[in-house]
């Protein structure tokens, strides 16, 4: 065991001392937060005010109502242009040129038919901004409804009252009762957990592969296998790199905890008022979820790192590995994609099945735990299946690894790999 320990220590220290470890430890969370939060920020994004024209081609009072609605949102500055219906096409053409010339963001066409058919048309440069388009649509819809009601003699005051803002709060109920956690927060936590597990399993799996390739390429492998069994070497490597992962987790966990715990003090340093700080609701992360993350990281990492070790053992160089690692990468990517289905329906057939299958469960199950209540027996069953498969895959991998590390030249095909695994 002292020999295995020597390998563990080497793998751990060589990595932790490396400047990349420091960089990854600092930048890792920044990166994860960036890709979790930024896309939604950009899409939701309060972009600058849009200048638009409402082209009133015989829509009557509807145009003013829509204008008023849009102006109230603060996202648009609106000019109403009245045109006779027969000139609509000509004016629209000139407005199109204004849009192309960056003078206008877009224009909304309201015609006499808009009111009866409930149809309007917006032409603009950027129609992908989810929030802006939602605002526009709701303004048009409300304008049309109000105009229709008014025409049928409903009191405008009643119309206003009927259109008052409606707010539906979405709160998740767990076994411990209402969590006070919003649907959005639980989505964010799930997304974050899935992405985090995907990234660290991939990152550390590839680390193991690199380490195998380095030993093979530098030809030190022969001295090593004359001193210790290939299995001891692989085991030491896998444990050492896992140690680096757990160490990094601990750093992230502690600093995250400190940030949350002392957030008011820290933010006050940056002159953020205390009220604003307390107004921010943090999603809760249960102990159950933390345990699930750590357990699934360890087991999932064990399984995938064994596969990556095989990839390292059967190739001769990093560039060859790029290609050979594809099948293993695909397994991980599919798991991440399936984990998204857990947001839509955490207890649905796809998510529940994938949370039992050993290759996808390390990512899918923690996401299910983050977004819903998973029965304990399901959790235990999934962990059991994963643990058993991980041990089996480590065993098979070690047998292939043992032969692969001493082979140079042509990469073996699947048939040869199967033969190596069977060889005594």
């Amino acid at each position: 065991m002292r020999k295995v320990w020597a390998v563990v220590r080497r793998e751990f220290l060589e990595r932790v001392r490396n400047k990349w470890f420091v960089i990854a430890t600092v930048l890792g969370p920044v990166f994860v937060i960036a890709i979790t939060v930024l896309p939604s920020l950009f899409l939701m994004g309060g972009s600058q005010r849009r200048d638009i024209v409402v082209l009133n081609a015989g829509a009557g009072g509807l145009a003013q109502r829509v204008e008023a609605q849009l102006a109230r949102t603060g996202a648009y500055s609106v000019t109403v242009v009245d045109v006779p219906e027969e000139r609509q096409v000509v004016v629209a053409d000139s407005l199109t040129r204004h849009v192309q010339g960056n003078i206008l963001s877009g224009y909304l066409i309201l015609t006499a038919a808009s009111l009866e058919a409930g149809a309007a048309e917006y032409r603009g440069r950027n129609v992908a901004s989810i929030r802006d388009m939602a605002t526009l649509e709701s303004a048009v819809r409300q304008g049309i409804v109000a105009e229709r009601l008014t025409r049928h003699g409903v009191d405008p005051a009643v119309v206003r009252e009927a259109q008052a803002r409606i707010d539906v709060r979405k709160l998740r109920i767990s076994k411990r009762g209402a969590t006070g956690e919003s649907g959005e927060a639980s989505f964010m936590v799930g997304y974050f957990v899935g992405l985090l597990l995907y990234m660290i399993i991939l990152l550390y799996g590839i680390n193991v592969m690199r380490s195998v390739i380095e030993e093979k390429q530098s030809r030190i492998i022969e001295v090593l296998v004359s001193s210790l069994k290939p299995f001891q070497l692989m085991l030491g490597k896998v444990i050492g790199v896992a140690g680096v992962g757990l160490f990094q987790f601990t750093i992230w966990g502690l600093s995250g905890f400190a940030l949350v715990r002392y957030r008011s003090q820290i933010l006050t340093l940056f002159k953020v008022p205390a009220d604003a700080v307390n107004a921010v609701k943090l999603p809760s992360i249960s102990a159950e979820l933390l345990i699930a993350i750590v357990v699934y990281f360890l087991l999932g990492y064990m399984l995938y790192s064994a596969l990556f070790a095989v990839v390292g053992a059967i190739v001769n160089s990093d560039s060859e590995a790029q290609q050979a690692q594809q099948p293993v990468m695909m397994l991980l990517v599919f798991s991440l994609i399936i984990s998204f289905s857990a947001f839509a329906d955490a207890s649905g057939p796809l998510a529940t099945t994938a949370s039992m299958v050993p290759f996808s469960s390390p990512i899918v199950m923690p996401v299910r735990v983050a977004t819903s209540d998973v029965p304990v027996q399901d959790l235990l069953l999934s962990m059991g299946i994963l643990a058993a498969s991980a041990i089996m895959i480590v065993w098979v991998s070690a047998r292939i690894y043992r032969i692969g590390i001493l082979m140079y030249g042509k990469r073996p095909n699947l048939k040869e790999l199967a033969r190596w695994a069977r060889q005594s």
Binding site: A6, V7, E14, E215, S226
Partner: protein, 318 residues
């Protein structure tokens, strides 16, 4: 004396495409410098890997230190230098040495102390904190020797140790081998350079195409080979040409190197007759001496023409 350090018995190893070693048996007693000789592809590396437990023989048994648990089990007692050498390029020199010793089962503190001793002995102590890839190739080779011997192994197994070394490191290595042997340790090394083996070995085993050609103590091997052998040195290569024409009727085999030749005389031929013929023919000589056959000669005679093609490859690429 039945103190055998390494014993191979009827060992065979086949690979998918070819047979590497067939029925090889050899015995290496304690304290001997043992040369495993043969041309490239003869099966030397495969034999050594089987001693080290890196590849498993298909047939036969390998015993080290009197048991068959394999080289890995005895790794703390063995210093192994493979043909393909390498160190962790990004590790610090001292760390790399300590790690390699630890992997053999040496305690960390002991490994560290000995590593420092060796770095000092090789004049590399100021490099201990540098990364391996910051060292010159020659220095890396020295670090590699240090990693092979620093745990004071009783048995050194060196696969083509002289190949690729610069002249300075060849000396360092030779001194290391000699001092290990004088300390009573056993050294096994493979080479295709017969001249080197002749100067260092107590005993040899010559293999060709996976099979043993002969083995035994160097003196016995030479004596058993028999025949009358003569070394001739000519004044220049033109004289050499003339000399070889005159000598031809007297010899059965000639290893002609231009101005020097090693000749095997026809049975019953007196060397004196050859000398007279040469002098009478006006050939100017620098040396004429009756000698024991060289290993190279023995190898050529025994391993035959198949090996001949390889014999000029013994050029060191420094």
């Amino acid at each position: 004396m039945n103190d055998l350090i390494v014993e191979l018995e009827g060992v065979s190893k086949r690979f998918a495409a070819h047979v590497a070693v067939t029925g090889l048996s050899l015995k290496v007693p304690r304290g001997v410098v043992y040369g495993l000789l043969g041309p490239n592809g003869a099966g030397k590396t495969t034999s050594i890997r089987m001693m080290m437990n890196i590849t498993m023989p298909d047939e036969g048994s390998v015993r080290l230190f009197g048991d068959d648990r394999g080289g890995r089990h005895h790794s703390a007692r063995i210093g192994y230098l493979p043909e393909e050498r390498g160190l962790y390029p990004k590790m610090r020199v001292l760390d790399a040495l300590v790690f390699l010793a630890e992997a053999k089962g040496v305690e960390r503190a002991v490994a560290r102390r000995k590593a420092l001793e060796w770095l000092e002995r090789l004049g590399l102590e100021q490099w201990q904190k540098n990364r391996v890839n910051e060292l010159s190739k020659g220095m890396q080779q020295k670090v590699q020797f240090a990693s092979t011997v620093l745990h004071e192994p009783e048995l050194l197994i060196l696969d083509e140790p002289f190949a690729g070394l610069d002249p300075i490191n060849q000396e360092v290595l030779k001194e290391t081998v000699v001092s290990q042997a004088r300390a009573g340790h056993t050294v096994i090394f493979s080479t295709h350079q017969m001249e080197v083996a002749e100067k260092i070995c107590d005993a040899v085993c010559i293999i060709a195409q996976g099979e043993k050609v002969l083995d035994g103590r160097l003196g016995d091997v030479k004596q058993q080979h028999g025949g009358t052998h003569v070394a001739v040195a000519y004044e220049d290569s033109a004289q050499g040409g003339a000399g070889m024409r005159i000598a031809a009727p007297f010899v059965t085999a000639a290893d002609d190197s231009g101005v020097f030749a090693e000749l095997t005389l026809r049975d019953g031929t007196d060397p004196q007759q050859l000398l007279e013929a040469l002098v009478r023919g006006g050939v100017r000589l620098r040396r004429f001496e009756r000698i024991e056959p060289s290993l190279h000669r023995i190898f050529l005679d025994r391993a035959g023409a198949a090996a001949r093609a390889d014999r000029r490859e013994d050029v060191t690429h420094a």
